[in-house]
Symmetry: C2
Subunit: 228 residues, 2 copies
DNA sequence: GTATCCCAGATCGTATACGGTATGTGATGC
DNA sequence: GCATCACATACCGTATACGATCTGGGATAC
């Protein structure tokens, strides 16, 4: 019997509720998440709200200070760069591991997403473009047989979404190049290139975006690549 | 003035308390963590205990089932293999990124740890050996300038500790080879080999351990063994 | 006018309480 | 003797309550 019930706990509902609002930019970075206020808004008590917030904290979407409260994680260039760098490593590995499980349809789907991206290079909308970009990459690694890596990559993307509504608002000039690199990755996959080569293509693709962002100089902060 | 206070929340204390016991094998995999019982043991209420348990769940040390409760994550071969594989990726990358920050003392310290490991190959104690092994690897990547990767690698090691008190209890025959590979990694670092080469050496080192474990066939047991 | 102190409001951290769900056990019917 | 059902128990999920801590602003001293 299918449980129509399938009831989900209030803390989980709250978790989704807050998270949606962070990802959807309704709650901007720095927005203060007051437990009592959210509880009243949702018509529940503060306990499940608290639990939801702590979970979001564990995933890096929210910052918490003892006896002060929670706020949506701040836009911070260093964080952004670190997250992108980490995601490059994870997603590269996840994609390489997913290769044996990848079907022709998976590849076709990714290709069609990338075609959509190319099509919109003319009338460029950074937010939509960024969202398609995420879809493209998820399509490539979602078959990853190692659930740990897949989940970490997933969290990485969520965190990114929280930190920046749109990567390509900051480095629009990278968009054409990015589409090109996507094609290149798909080509490597189709031609059954060495998994390591594909992994590095994916990683470098992300790292080049970081480079572009860094050179753009949106941040006064020096790169971690300091001299010994 | 330094706050002698520096009071830490009860939920945090509880988190540490439980975690110590899991890592220290006082709570074995499958051990049931009853909120009320722990609360009474520590003389506090269940609320902070609950929070601590959820945090441990987020890190994978504990499994939680709605309306049933929490138990220490089960020894599960698949989980173990996945975790090791992920850790190989993360630690390889973290080590490579740490290279520019690495001092001569760091390298010497790692070398001396490995020497201790070699020394104990004769009278082999898997638990101590595994612990030294962890120290060795942490010594190599702890300078990693990207805190995200470092933290993920850190969590990976903790998770491993929870899943297996000692890797080398299961594949003792790999110990000598492992020491050798450590030397090789140190050699590459000293000779300023390509970061990528070092990253792959670290990754492959871990993956070979997984291979050894897998071939050993210990994992005939899917082991949650509840099968009501 | 500036710095310090103190108080009030806001918000968190934790305790206690209670209803809901799952699990095991003994009674009942066959 | 076996399967089924009902009930008791254990434990979780959430609500409510209250003391603790932080923050900001106004009063006071100089």
């Amino acid at each position: 019997m299918i449980r129509i019930d399938e009831r989900i706990s209030k803390s989980e509902l709250t978790y989704d509720w807050i998270r949606e609002r962070i990802i959807g930019r309704e709650f901007n970075p720095g927005y203060r998440l007051v437990l009592g206020a959210i509880a009243k808004e949702l018509g529940i008590s503060v306990v499940p709200v608290r639990e939801a917030v702590r979970r979001l904290e564990a995933e890096g979407l929210v910052e918490f200070e003892r006896n002060v409260g929670a706020r949506v994680a701040m836009v911070n260039s260093v964080e952004y760069i670190d997250t992108m760098q980490t995601l490059g490593v994870l997603e590269g590995a996840a994609t390489a591991l997913a290769l044996p499980q990848m079907s022709q349809e998976d590849i076709d789907r990714a290709q069609s997403i990338n075609d959509s991206m190319r099509a919109m290079l003319e009338s460029f909308d950074p937010v939509v473009f960024t969202s398609l970009n995420e879809k493209f990459h998820r399509a490539l690694f979602h078959r990853c047989p190692n659930p740990h890596i897949a989940e970490l990559a997933d969290r990485g993307w969520n965190r990114m979404a929280g930190l920046r509504s749109s990567t390509f608002s900051f480095v629009p000039e990278r968009a054409p190049r990015s589409v090109q690199e996507h094609d290149e990755i798909l080509r490597l996959i189709r031609e059954h290139a060495e998994p390591m080569e594909i992994e590095m293509a994916v990683r470098q693709h992300k790292w080049r975006t970081v480079e572009a962002y860094r050179e753009q100089g949106h941040h006064a902060v020096p790169s971690p690549a300091t001299a010994r």
